[in-house]
């Protein structure tokens, strides 16, 4: 939670820090470009991508719309498999359950595979407070844990660190100097963590998907650490967001098609594991005791909210981060929460229901829609950002200056006469600052704009002032319309009147 990258109280200040960090910007650009190109190639090669997205969306919509049924089914089935199921309404409750298990099994160390839910709960810190060492085992997570930071990307957590910084961190950990060579560094971590996997008391995992009909939990990963964590220690604890459910293994095929391709451009992650209960009696590996903690922590606030329920469809692939031009420039820490990028900008305030506090994150978007286009389950994040902004205004928490400005906007734009008068006034006003058809002065509201650009000046005559002249000109030279065109236009208008035709959104 510490570190310079998270300093600054507003996204604007944090973004400024990030924008001044040349390495960070380059690293984030390079990585997101690699990932989004990978996704593009993989989705094109697979083909019918929009049909797959639509199918993924439908499965997620269906599951969430019947979440009480499917989650209940999952819990019952997992219990029949011998899993100890727990429910936590809040993050604090989830932490309490996890700590109680750790105390009961007298754990000294916990090896963890990547889990955004445990980040959300700050579980490592809690374990540390009762004297249990929690070790992140995903290579990137291990690195940022040594640095005492938070992940800045949900798929590539250490995107913001270069190999020299990483070599320094790992050298301090090793007590010897390691060269800044990827193979050397990864080799050190393999050796070090191998011992930890074998001696840890608890293995802790997240959960990509949970299969309701068989009570199985599913993990996607590339390193093999999630397999280690769920195979070697005596006790397994899985933290699972309550919305991670899919009904069946058949549905998992769709998620397995969408998730790796969207995340990294892989056809499948190196490991895809489906775990159905603890070890069987005669098995010689696998956990003897398995717990799954099902976490709400603000998720259910989206249920029944037509504008935000689709947030629960998210499969945590990170494609929206890689597509986002804002993320590209400021990186993950500038968002100031566990989840970053477009999904973070919406999810963080939605989970906390404190729209007002997080509003400046919702403002850190140009609403370009790249996130929606990239999303494998078609979550309209760009629209959700607008809804967040609206809710803040409706709650009376809008910025005073902006509110006044918008009142002025409505007064001017609500009536064409006032609008014309305002333009005339503007034309007189701008005479003071216009040079050579542009405005360069870094004055008032133009300060930010003119730090990077020249502002245009108002035209000598507006279009509406020119209209009469223009009208006369074209009336004189108007040609006869091609009968085919005319026919087509008439048909379109007719179809529209009959309720078909017209064109929809997106």
């Amino acid at each position: 939670m510490s570190g310079a990258a998270t300093a600054g109280s507003s996204v604007k200040e944090r973004a400024k820090l990030a924008l001044n960090d040349e390495f960070l910007r380059k690293a984030v650009k390079f990585t997101t470009e690699r990932l989004r190109n990978g996704k593009k190639a993989a989705s094109e090669q697979h083909g019918h991508w929009d049909e797959w997205r639509e199918r993924g969306r439908q499965i997620r919509l269906h599951t969430i719309a019947h979440l009480d049924y499917y989650l209940n089914l999952f819990a019952d089935n997992a219990r029949k498999n011998g899993v100890h199921i727990h429910f936590a309404d809040t993050g604090a409750e989830a932490v309490k359950i996890a700590l109680e298990i750790a105390r009961r099994v007298q754990a000294k160390t916990v090896v963890k595979s990547k889990s955004m839910v445990t980040e959300e709960l700050h579980l490592n810190h809690a374990l540390d407070s009762i004297g249990v060492e929690a070790i992140e085992t995903d290579l990137g997570e291990y690195i940022i844990q040594l640095a005492g930071e938070m992940p800045s990307h949900i798929v590539i957590p250490a995107i913001h660190k270069n190999r020299y910084q990483i070599a320094e961190l790992l050298s301090a950990d090793a007590g010897e100097t390691l060269s800044p060579d990827t193979t050397v560094l990864a080799g050190y971590v393999r050796k070090k963590l191998r011992e930890k996997f074998l001696e840890a008391d608890i293995g802790m995992t997240g959960c990509n998907f949970a299969i309701a009909e068989t009570g199985s939990m599913v993990l996607f990963e590339n390193e093999g650490n999630a397999r280690m964590v769920s195979t070697l220690p005596k006790t397994q604890i899985t933290l699972m967001g309550m919305e991670r459910i899919v009904p069946s293994w058949a549905d998992l095929e769709v998620m397995a098609t969408l998730l790796p391709r969207s995340a990294t451009g892989q056809k499948l992650t190196v490991y895809l594991s489906g775990i159905t209960g603890p070890r069987r009696e005669t098995d010689a590996d696998g956990p003897e005791e398995m717990h799954i903690i099902i976490v709400d922590n603000g998720r259910s606030l989206q249920l029944g909210d037509p504008e935000f329920q689709e947030l629960l469809n998210c499969i945590r692939c990170g494609a929206c981060l890689n597509a986002c031009p804002v993320y590209r420039h400021i990186g993950g820490h500038a968002y100031g929460g566990t989840y970053s990028g477009p999904i973070g900008a919406v999810l963080t305030p939605a989970l906390k229901k404190n729209v007002a506090e997080w509003d400046d994150i919702a403002n850190a978007s140009s609403l370009c829609g790249a996130c929606y286009e990239a999303c494998p389950v078609k979550i309209p994040l760009h629209e959700m950002l607008i809804y967040l902004r609206r809710r803040k205004v409706e709650a009376g928490r809008g910025n005073a200056l902006e509110s006044a400005g918008m009142k002025g906007f409505a007064a001017v734009m609500g009536n064409a006469k006032r609008y014309k008068a305002a333009l005339k006034l503007g034309r007189i006003g701008q005479k003071l600052v216009v040079r050579d058809g542009g405005i360069r002065a870094k004055l008032g509201p133009l300060k930010g704009w003119n730090t990077y650009r020249v502002a245009p000046s108002l035209a000598k005559e507006t279009f509406r002032e020119r209209w009469d002249t223009l009208e006369q000109e074209i009336r004189a030279g108007l040609r006869e319309m091609d009968p085919d065109m005319k026919e087509r236009m008439e048909r379109l208008a007719r179809e529209r009147a009959e309720g078909k035709g017209g064109h929809g959104h997106g």
Binding site: Q58, D68, R104, A250, Y271, R280, T282, A284
Partner: protein, 242 residues
């Protein structure tokens, strides 16, 4: 009297069952409808229809599997029979100077008689055969892990191994080198052909661990530089037999 571990688990389970009701009722209330207790109609189950009919002929499956597996850094070989597999493994063991081999306790691997094929001094452990062994440690020290795949999928280049008493999850995970033997009749086109078997089998018949392995362990967490063999096996052979 201090609460025993079993008593504690039972108490936690009882609490959880009570909580479950409240949790589900809360979800239904937020969705503004009564609790859904009947299985809902699920019209979008599984992959789109056009996909479900897609299947490659055997030779194409083999070709695509090999292509995909190699593309992610895995090694492949197509071998006529188990004799050839035996020779292949023996050659690799000699080449890499493998000292310890761990294998699943299955008939196909018994038939290989690796013990007599491997170079002098190499030791073969058979998973979970006999009492008192630390099987996880045996797997962790192994240079080679040898498994027979339960399935494979050509489209994604994946090998599937299911856990059982004789087929430890560690065998495909802890050794430095993984050798997966795939009888070609187990090679499917799509992932979905394999997954649907798990739906069909049902909860009671699933193993604790179902693992799809699509190449060597990898990470790009350090400056996007691809590293192979981060935690799992860094060298993986898929041997297609038949």
């Amino acid at each position: 009297m201090a609460e025993s571990h079993r008593d504690w688990l039972e108490r936690m389970d009882a609490e959880s069952r009570a909580k479950q009701e409240a949790f589900m009722n809360g979800i239904a209330a937020k969705l503004r409808r009564p609790r859904a207790v009947q299985a809902p109609e699920h019209p979008f189950r599984g992959a789109p229809d056009f996909w479900n009919g897609f299947e490659w002929p055997l030779e194409e499956r083999i070709r695509k599997f090999m292509e995909n597996f190699q593309a992610v850094g895995g090694h492949v070989a197509r071998l006529p029979d188990l004799q050839a597999v035996r020779a292949f493994i023996a050659d690799k063991a000699a080449e890499m100077n493998a000292k310890y081999v761990i294998r699943q306790n299955v008939a196909e691997l018994d038939a290989l008689e690796l013990e007599s094929a491997l170079p002098e001094g190499a030791r073969v452990s058979v998973w979970n055969r006999g009492e008192g062994e630390h099987w996880k440690a045996r797997a962790a020290e192994a240079d080679f892990g040898v498994v027979v795949a339960d399935y494979a999928a050509a489209y994604t280049g994946s090998v599937t191994v299911l856990s059982a008493k004789d087929k430890g999850r560690s065998v495909s995970l802890l050794p430095t080198v993984l050798i997966a033997i795939i009888p070609v009749e187990r090679l499917k086109t799509r992932l979905g052909e394999i997954l649907k078997d798990f739906d069909r089998a049902g909860r009671e018949n699933l193993p604790a661990g179902i693992h799809f392995i699509s190449g060597p362990s990898r990470s790009s967490d350090i400056e996007n530089d691809l590293t192979i063999g981060v935690h799992g096996p860094g060298i993986v052979y898929a041997l297609l037999v038949g």
